[in-house]
């Protein structure tokens, strides 16, 4: 646990970069500090590893005032990642990563083994070990930066705009990677960014800063999007926060239509009856055995087909399936997105193996959103929210007890 106790930083010249900041950063979570440029995020972050000393107040790390710890020793227990990666140009990738273990006096072979392990962890190819930083792309350098910060297995990781200098596609994949790592490692991460999207995506908690070193709101991402504390925060979050917030509700909450999910060997007559029973203008055709979705037939087209033919044998072209969403994993936002993009105004929800679970429509989405909003507002704020692609420590524990781990979760067996 990192605690700021009314910490103020005044620079020579009188700028108050951080103004009587109180902040508790719980263990094992990602805390994001977000705000406009110059609001004191970097200053706050650097005070944690004593690159900057506070003018007033104190910072406690697990109950110890950090000003009483010798700075180099404190820093070796705190990983630090910066925007430009800051790799040592004259050291190979493996030696860059092995920096802190070597400072800690590990022998060279053990430090290099550790470096290889970390390269694997952050998704770097082993054949890069002997290269120099100039031979790597920006995104790869940033991965090395993260590996280097994690090398001595510090409990705390500080990241200052770690993904701001890379292009949007690489940034997004690095963010996913951080989320995956965090699922596995549960470090105490403090990440600074000016990018709200990034804050919402990677943060367990988000502290939004006013322009002058004070916190406007500290909350979980879904509460932040659901109930901004004031107009400043609302403006800072941007206009489409309503839709973004749907990312925090599971698509599993949808009440899906199953009556019009029909195997290819269903007769046209039976299909028409099913559609009529459900009041649906479209039916979804799946291949017989394993319920993989194939595409849609309009009921109006089926009216002109012979009663006894099966759906699979018709020469009528299927309307394209469009995107599907995975019921147990994806959010309402993904389901809404799939529905909006579909020509039929419908999207198929599938399970982990791609088998159809059911169909959603705008009406069904609206109902689920209403229920979710209600539950979200009344709900217990301490209860971990649904996050796409996340596992909580508890969930991971539960997963580890099961013999079969869900596929595609990105959790590495340790």
């Amino acid at each position: 646990m990192i605690t700021f106790e009314s910490v103020t930083k005044r620079y020579p010249g009188g700028t108050v970069a951080v103004d009587a900041l109180d902040l508790e950063i719980p263990d094992g979570q990602t805390m994001v500090l977000v705000g406009p440029s110059g609001c004191g995020k970097t200053t706050s972050l650097r005070m944690i590893n004593r690159l900057i000393d506070p003018s007033e107040g104190r910072i406690m790390l697990d109950g110890t005032d950090i000003s009483t710890v010798e700075a180099p020793r404190l820093r070796r227990g705190i990983g630090y990642v910066i925007q430009q990666a800051g790799l040592f140009p004259h050291r190979t990738i493996e030696d860059n990563i092995a920096t802190v273990p070597l400072l800690e006096g590990w022998n060279k072979a053990k430090a290099r083994d550790r470096a290889r392990e970390l390269m694997d962890l952050v998704g770097l190819d082993a054949n890069m070990a002997r290269r120099y930083p100039y031979q790597l792309s920006g995104g790869q350098q940033q991965r090395v930066g993260v590996a280097r910060a994690l090398a001595a297995d510090p409990p705390v990781l500080l990241m200052d705009e770690p993904f701001s200098a890379v292009d949007p596609i690489v940034r997004s994949s690095l963010q996913d990677e951080l989320i995956r790592l965090q699922n596995e490692l549960h470090k105490t991460v403090v990440l600074v960014t000016h990018d709200v999207e990034e804050a919402i995506k990677v943060g367990d908690q988000v502290a939004v800063f006013y322009p002058h070193g004070k916190i406007a709101q500290l909350d979980t991402p879904q509460h932040l999007l659901g109930s901004p504390a004031d107009e400043y925060v609302e403006n800072f979050l941007g206009f489409d926060r309503g839709i973004r917030r749907l990312a925090f509700f599971s698509a599993g909450q949808l009440d899906l239509e199953t009556g019009t999910v029909l195997a290819a060997d269903t007769t046209v007559e039976a299909a028409r009856a099913a559609a009529q029973r459900c009041g649906e203008p479209w039916v979804l055709v799946t291949d017989g055995g394993n319920r993989q979705p194939q595409g849609w037939f309009a009921v109006s087209d089926l009216d002109r087909q012979p009663d006894r033919e099966t759906l699979g044998s018709l020469s009528l072209p299927l309307a394209p399936l469009g995107h599907t969403f995975q019921v147990g994993r994806d959010s309402l936002r993904a389901a809404l997105d799939a529905t909006v993009l579909s020509r039929t105004g419908r999207a198929a929800g599938v399970d982990g193996d791609g088998r159809v679970v059911g169909i959603t429509t705008y009406e069904r989405l609206r109902a689920a959103i209403q229920t979710a909003e209600q539950a979200g507002l009344d709900g217990n704020p301490d209860q971990p929210a649904f996050r796409e692609g996340r596992t909580t420590p508890e969930a991971q524990q539960a997963g580890a007890d099961d013999a079969a781990e869900p596929a595609g979760e990105g959790v590495r067996p340790s």
Partner: protein, 233 residues
């Protein structure tokens, strides 16, 4: 040229003494410049006075210095080596300081944040990264030193410079040409060696090979130029 072959023994001796007189000052220079440069970066207040001192060394006329030194060191090699050492220092100290300061701020900051203490940071991070700039300084110091040795001939200790005065007295141009060409070749050779040393010491640098070669030629020509001027004072 047959003259040069007939006198190869004497020329060989002159060459050896020329190298000795030229390179020892550079060696002394680098041994002193590195710690002094580190000090100037670590304790900033020491830099302005030392910078003034190096400017004085640089601007000081060698001839005046020889004449002053003769009173103390007489007609020994030291009378040439000491001024050249001071000259090397005047080139090398600013280069070491520039080199240490050229380390990119994010790299320095990362080193601090990783938990390097000040001394380890200097030795393991800043000094290796300063190598290209330091070697650039060494090239200037070495080439200059090789050409400046001949000035010592004014007091009779000038390595290949002897060929200039002797050739002039005997009105024998070949001898002057031989001296000049040998000095230029020496300058080119040692400059080349330093370029190789830099490549070997900095495998981590992205390079543009063609540009590099062009620069060697330029520096060598400048060195040769200095040699001609130095020899003809």
């Amino acid at each position: 040229m047959s003259w040069a072959w007939q006198n190869r023994d004497q020329i060989g001796h002159l060459l050896a003494s020329h190298l000795y007189l030229a390179l020892l000052p550079v060696l002394f220079g680098i041994v002193v410049a590195v710690p002094v440069g580190i000090m100037c970066v670590r304790w900033r207040w020491t830099w302005p006075p030392i910078l003034s001192l190096t400017s004085i060394f640089y601007a000081m006329p060698s001839l005046a210095l020889y004449l002053v030194l003769i009173a103390y060191t007489g007609l020994t090699d030291w009378t040439v080596i000491i001024p050249l050492t001071l000259f090397s220092l005047s080139v090398l100290i600013p280069n070491v300081v520039d080199g240490l300061r050229s380390v990119p701020p994010p790299v320095k900051q990362a080193a601090v944040a990783m938990g390097f203490g000040a001394t380890r940071r200097t030795i393991q991070v800043e000094l290796p990264l300063a190598v290209p700039v330091i070697i650039a300084g060494l090239r200037v110091a070495t080439v200059s030193s090789i050409s400046l040795v001949s000035v010592g001939q004014l007091i009779g200790i000038g390595g290949l410079g002897y060929l200039f005065t002797d050739g002039e007295q005997r009105d024998f141009t070949t001898e002057i040409w031989v001296g000049l060409i040998l000095i230029i070749l020496l300058a080119l050779l040692f400059d080349g060696l330093l370029v190789l040393a830099r490549r070997w010491l900095t495998p981590w640098e992205a390079r543009a090979p063609r540009q590099e070669r062009r620069r060697v030629v330029q520096v060598a020509l400048r060195g040769a130029n200095a040699g001609v001027k130095g020899g003809s004072i």
